[in-house]
């Protein structure tokens, strides 16, 4: 399994697939988008921060563990940090595998594990002056 894990302060740019294989039969993509309403309150966006060295370590471990249950060829995880406006992606996850069942299962379980154990936080902060 090839895994790409990246954090960026810039808008998420979807990278090309790393592995070229005629055995890839399923590609599952997840885009996590910042919504306008958070617990009923309108927002202009959210601020994200992470403990990056630990987040990378935890994600590598999660992906390796999930790979034993749902073998996939490639996983690409991109998370935006800093200010993310409403309507923009904070998270991009792409899983490429031979079959759809593994790709869907891996993608879903990876997001659940991230939300449980990976040190990334969304924060409601005032709109930064340079965000307009």
């Amino acid at each position: 399994m090839h895994a790409v894990i990246q954090f960026t302060q810039s808008p998420i740019a979807i990278p090309e697939a790393h592995t070229v294989s005629r055995e890839i039969g399923a590609i599952v993509e997840f885009h996590g988008i910042v919504r306008e309403l958070e617990q009923g309150h309108p927002l202009a966006g959210l601020h994200y921060e992470a403990y990056e060295p630990m987040a990378v370590l935890q994600l590598e471990r999660i992906f390796q563990q999930l790979h034993t249950q749902s073998p996939v060829a490639e996983v690409t995880f991109l998370h935006r940090l800093g200010w993310v406006p409403v309507g923009h992606a904070s998270l991009y996850l792409r899983v490429r595998s031979s079959h759809r069942a593994e790709a869907f299962a891996f993608c879903s379980a990876a997001i659940e594990a991230m939300k449980r154990d990976v040190p990334i936080w969304k924060l409601q902060r005032p709109l930064p002056p340079d965000a307009c």
Partner: protein, 76 residues
């Protein structure tokens, strides 16, 4: 022994710092260390990690390194 403490998200606001260096007694637990430095901080609202690995609040700190205070995560 020297210890670098990192605080993230709401924990940095509660503790009043994002990073600071402290002297830790060998064998001291994260719970005892935080009680000594910030008695008003409630450890039950956060997890703790040492050198990027989750640690229990009552596990002893035996080496110098990086202690991180991690409030509930919310990525995605």
């Amino acid at each position: 022994m020297p210890l670098r403490i990192l605080a993230f998200a709401i924990a940095s606001e509660q503790l009043g710092f994002r990073e600071r260096s402290v002297e830790c007694i060998q064998g001291e637990t994260p719970r005892a260390l935080l009680a000594r430095l910030h008695p008003s901080f409630d450890p039950s609202v956060a997890r703790v990690a040492f050198n990027c690995e989750y640690l229990g609040w009552d596990d002893p700190l035996e080496d110098s390194g990086e202690l991180a205070i991690l409030p509930p995560v919310s990525g995605g």
